[in-house]
């Protein structure tokens, strides 16, 4: 199965996401539980000193409003670490609240550095009147694609967002732009977007949100994607997850080609996926856990208050 290796071949210097951090509730505030900051030590330092109350700053806003929040300019906004971010060149951020039923488990914040060459997309789709429309998104240099997305909507079952919405599971789509006609493919192709990961973002109150991460070759959001199914209805136990889909620049497809139930299995507390399984809280790691990549993020997705899936991306 070495044929998928050519999906991405070069080793780009830049990634789309510069910083990922995990904020968890402690008492009535959000505190930093982990993060990967790359070279941005000063921003890391500023973050460690910070906590957020409900509604305060970007993480507090995602918590209070119970929805993913995109922030494309820090100056003059509610963003609390503007000065530290400016010094290291971080210009935009997306905050994703992780709820299990009504309980907030964490807020994941990803920060990006703007320039004219970084292409990718982090989108938030929201349902209104039976249709998903773009609530907001961060696209880097993919401005035409941004315009197309703003003017696109998805009924149930259609496209990556509509597929995630109706299937209630994360979905990993390949080759968004080239041979495979992603609903917005023409524009996605021009923007160099190749792989798309869509995740349902459950929130209290029944609103529907779908988050999509669209990755481009030159400045990938990730070089390895994994979707783990943790539902007891699929695995037979509360303490394990099966790797049901995934693709890796180095290892190729990560799914079981025989469809014979021989998927890789992660068990609670073993490795970063196991930690997410055991705690229901996302992780962001470097080092050995990142399997040779600079960093990895593993995010739980709950359904009906129970952990249902874990998605992980490595870059």
């Amino acid at each position: 199965m070495d044929t998928a290796m050519d999906l991405v071949t070069e080793n780009p210097a830049k990634t789309f996401v510069e910083v990922t951090e995990i904020w968890i509730p402690e008492g009535d505030r959000l505190v930093l539980s982990g993060g990967v900051y790359g070279p941005h030590d000063r921003f890391a330092e500023a973050s460690r000193a910070e906590t957020f109350a409900l509604g305060e700053g970007l993480p507090g806003k995602a918590w209070a409003e119970a929805r993913p929040v995109v922030l494309k300019a820090f100056d003059g906004s509610y963003f609390k670490r503007t000065e530290a971010a400016r010094q290291v060149g971080l210009t935009s951020a997306v905050a994703i609240p992780i709820f299990a039923g009504r309980t907030l488990k964490a807020v994941v914040v990803v920060l990006c550095a703007d320039d004219a060459t970084r292409t990718g997309a982090i989108e938030v789709w929201a349902e209104a009147d039976g249709i998903l429309t773009l609530a907001d998104g961060y696209y880097g240099a993919a401005t035409h694609f941004e315009w197309v997305s703003q003017h696109t909507s998805f009924p149930r079952g259609q496209g990556l967002p509509g597929g995630v919405w109706s299937a209630l599971t994360p979905i990993l789509m390949r080759d968004l732009g080239s041979g495979y006609r992603f609903v917005r493919s023409e524009s996605a192709g021009q923007a160099g977007l190749t792989t798309g990961l869509g995740l349902p973002i459950p929130v209290p109150g029944g609103a529907t949100f779908v988050l999509t991460l669209l990755s481009a070759k030159g400045t990938p959001i990730a070089r390895r994607f994994e979707i783990w199914d943790a539902r007891a209805a699929k695995t037979g136990t509360r303490d394990a997850a099966k790797l049901v889909d995934g693709i890796c620049e180095r290892d190729g497809p990560l799914w079981d080609p025989e469809n014979a139930g021989r998927e890789r299995v992660a068990t609670a507390w073993e490795g970063p996926i196991g930690r997410v399984l055991a705690t229901g809280v996302p992780v962001a790691e470097t080092g050995a856990a990142a399997q040779g990549y600079a960093m990895m993020v593993a995010m739980p997705i709950h359904r009906g208050g129970e952990l249902a899936h874990v998605v992980a991306w490595y870059c």
Partner: protein, 809 residues
């Protein structure tokens, strides 16, 4: 080195080559022909490629480098024209290749329904990468019709929907994937697909495909026209055997092979979908791989024999979790174990015969599928674990499941009422705060106040919290299949818009796969009364009299009663009845209390012909057997009687013509008397109208059977039109609210006359009831005799019919 030629580079021959090169890379010099211009790829993963969830690169099993590394000479994109068995040579389009051994792995072709228009541009099958790419290249927003609701068709539909198309699936059978799923699982699958925006039409037969050069629409047998830009035929496959036939090999439905995969020519072998072994064909990948392994051994001179095994099914549509294995048809000696969790969309059914598991169908929770599949394959004796079998391997050896213990063990934050988001802790707090019965818990917490399916759970929380202080209510359930009462079932069918039997079984958590002889007739009635346009009447859920449209008598013969509108008949009608009595040797002719004539002692097989004769004389069925309108008894009224105050006969005829054919919870008898002397005995009928000088006194809820009841006065109206309107509205209210098999008087005792008067007293509500009744009559006011007198139906009345499989009585 011997020369091996393989025709067809599909999954079976691909696996064969893998086994060969692994076991002895130097045994054969291999030449591989493939009509497709590419090598072996994982064809069963085309569906995720179609949906965009996999790339073609990921599903290539053998790329050019693999073939080169193993010295396989590839002749891809080249069709084999013939096999010269005398010279041991395969003739390709670009030249001959000699062989010592030859393997046919020609696979199968899609079956194209030969309806008019099947050859239009835009009508495609779903077999290979080219078909897949054609679908991928269809513009988002286009309309696709997929013919065939089996595995392949549904995967195509889901993939096309992901690509942004408007998709309709047409399926000939009554539920999707009927070969792999029972109706209950088919219902859940359908709901799942509809949630994706896919339109599903069952019992849909394609008449033709319309278009001028390219496809424009699909026309169904019932006249429905579905506009379409793309038609995907996924109705089945046919083994591809032309080459084998032309070469003179033994071919039946497919190429015949022995257990070593050898054809009728000892140097020619075959594997995959193109073979027939012991009368069996193969379409799923697991047996193909087994065949490849056996053939590799045979070619290497080792002993091996192919034996077909039990198969299991999975559907590759992300988010649809189903599993099916073994045989799950109903049958004598078979027992079902059913588990349903409506809130989570879970259905599991195990079929047990002689203490072994013979079939399993699961939807929504498939975790234990492989374990059950193992039990089926191994024929394991499950007697010891029967009680907990449905809960899977995790429960074996554990304590038996006590529902109350399970509820007691639930944590405080476990959600009990999904509709209102009420957790167990809140309910317990409310109980401790003084809410000690269901009504109080409902009022305090809103738990079970919406859809009501958690009522049982809330009661269990009450019982677990209060212990003996709580008396579990004793509302009579419909039958052993459910804990819900008739009233609950009626309410939930309306509130949750349940429009099919499988929907009721699943969403209301029935403990049997398809109900029983008690609940099915009731649910069938509730569904047809509440959803006349959406629900299709199920004859198998009716009592034998209603199925046969005649009263079965104690000697097995039937009675036939034609309708006599308001008790009025003519000489011609009487002559036709007399002729029928003569022609069919009717032993007894009786005048009934309902003012009509009963022909008793008719043989079942004579019924259709007799009905046809009576129909020809203008007579229709009197529905003397049905839970529906029976008779409207009248007196002669003002036309002839000195005391008559109104045209009672005319009103009776008018009411009978309006109400006949409507199904009701129990039989309904009417009468209209022309004056208070009451010659038509109207005051002991379900609806009795007594005419007076000033108008019409309508009474309801009378009876003259085991219970004798005088009617209660419903209303007095001035005009005949008003009398008809009130009567129709009353019958409809009864149809919509009464428990099945409750006569109106029993129903009135439960709901109270006051409520009925209040409801019908509202003119708007009365009009709405009449409109709903008339709408239902557009479907149900048909003469069953006319329908059933057709010759082909006559077979169902032949005396050899197997009545053991039928539902009721």
């Amino acid at each position: 080195m011997e020369r091996l030629v393989v025709i067809g580079a599909g999954m079976a021959s691909g696996r064969l080559l893998e086994h060969l090169v692994e076991a002895d890379p130097n045994a054969y010099a291999v030449t591989l022909f493939n009509a497709e211009p590419r090598g072996n790829y994982n064809r069963i993963m085309l569906s995720p490629v179609l949906s965009g969830e996999k790339s073609y690169a990921e599903i290539v099993t053998h790329d050019d480098a693999w073939y080169a590394r193993h010295g396989v000479t590839c002749r891809f994109g080249e069709r084999v024209e013939s096999i010269d068995r005398d010279r041991n040579v395969v003739v390709g389009a670009k030249g001959e290749v000699p062989y010592d051994r030859l393997v046919l792995a020609t696979g199968s072709d899609a079956f194209i329904v030969p309806c008019p228009g099947h050859d239009l541009d835009g009508v495609i099958a779903y077999r290979d990468l080219d078909d897949t790419n054609r679908m991928i290249d269809t513009a988002p927003g286009s309309r696709a019709v997929v013919i065939g609701g089996g595995l392949l068709g549904l995967e195509a539909a889901a993939g096309l929907r992901m690509r942004g198309l408007e998709v309709t699936v047409l399926h000939l059978a009554g539920h999707l994937m009927e070969r792999q799923l029972d109706p209950a699982a088919g219902y859940l699958l359908r709901a799942d697909l509809e949630r994706r925006g896919i339109t599903v039409m069952t019992q849909a037969a394609t008449k033709c495909i319309r278009g001028d050069g390219a496809v424009e629409a699909v026309e169904l047998e019932d006249g429905t026209i579905l506009p379409a830009d793309l038609v995907v035929m996924a109705v089945g496959i046919r083994p591809s055997v032309a080459l084998a036939k032309q070469s003179g090999l033994a071919v039946n439905k497919a190429i015949e092979v022995d257990a070593q995969m050898r054809t009728s020519d000892p140097s020619i072998f075959a594997v995959g979908e193109c073979i027939e072994f012991a009368g069996q064909l193969f379409g799923l990948v697991a047996p193909l791989y087994d065949q490849a392994k056996v053939l590799a051994a045979t070619l290497l001179g080792q002993d091996a024999a192919f034996t077909p095994k039990q198969l299991s099914t999975k559907l590759k549509v992300t988010g649809c979790d189903l599993f099916s294995a073994g045989d799950f048809a109903d049958g004598p000696g078979r027992e079902d174990i059913v588990y349903r969790d409506p809130a989570r969309g879970i259905y599991k059914r195990l079929v047990v015969e002689d203490d072994t598991l013979v079939g399993a169908v699961m939807y929504g929770d498939t975790a234990d599928g492989n374990w059950f599949f193992g039990l089926i394959k191994d024929g394991t004796d499950i007697a010891e674990m029967r009680e907990t079998l449905i809960f899977g391997p995790a429960y074996q050896g554990g304590a038996t499941a006590d529902p109350l213990a399970a509820v007691a063990a639930l944590p405080a934050d476990a959600e009990i009422c999904g509709c209102n988001g009420v957790c167990k802790g809140q309910i317990v707090t409310a109980i401790e705060g003084g809410a000690t019965d269901l009504g109080a818990v409902r009022a305090t917490t809103k738990a079970s106040a919406s859809c009501g399916t958690c009522t049982g759970l809330v009661e269990q929380v009450l019982a677990a919290t209060l212990g003996d202080a709580f008396q579990m209510p004793t509302a009579q359930p419909v039958c052993g299949c459910t804990d819900l009462s008739h009233e609950d079932v009626r309410r939930l069918i309306k509130a949750r818009e349940l429009k099919s039997q499988p929907a009721v079984w699943q969403e209301l958590g029935w403990s049997t796969p398809n109900g029983c002889h008690v609940c099915r007739p009731a649910v069938n009635f509730y569904l047809l009364a509440d959803w006349p346009l959406d629900y299709q009447d199920d004859p198998q859920s009716r009592f034998v009299n209603e199925r046969k449209h005649a009263n079965i008598q104690k000697d097995g013969t039937f009675s036939v009663v034609p309708r006599m509108w308001g008790g009025i008949t003519t000489a011609a009608e009487l002559r036709a009845i007399a002729d029928a009595a003569d022609k069919y040797d009717v032993p007894t002719v009786k005048v009934t209390g309902g003012q009509r004539i009963d022909l008793l002692g008719v043989k079942g097989e004579d019924l259709p012909a007799m009905w046809a004769d009576l129909n020809a004389a203008g007579l229709v069925s009197g529905h003397a057997y049905s839970k529906g309108l029976r008779t409207v008894k009248t007196c002669v009224g003002t036309d002839h009687c000195r005391f008559g105050t109104q045209d009672s006969t005319g009103l009776g005829i008018r009411l009978e013509k309006r109400l006949w054919g409507s199904w009701t919870p129990h039989k309904v008898k009417l009468a209209v008397s022309g004056c208070p002397r009451n010659c038509a005995e109207a005051t002991c009928k379900d609806v009795g109208i007594v005419c007076v000088d000033s108008g019409y006194e309508i009474g309801v809820g009378g009876a003259a059977g085991m219970d004798v009841k005088e009617v209660q006065p419903l209303v007095k109206v001035a005009t005949e039109d008003a009398a008809v309107e009130w009567t129709v509205a009353f019958v409809q209210l009864y149809r919509e609210h009464a428990k099945y098999l409750d006569r109106p008087y029993k129903w009135l005792a439960k709901v109270g006359l006051d409520w009925v008067q209040q409801t019908l007293g509202d003119a708007a509500e009365r009009t709405a009831l009449v409109e709903r009744f008339d709408l239902s009559q557009t479907i149900y006011q048909t003469d069953p005799w006319a329908e059933l007198a057709m010759r082909e139906k006559a077979r169902a009345f032949a005396p050899i019919a197997d009545l053991t499989l039928e539902a009721a009585e």
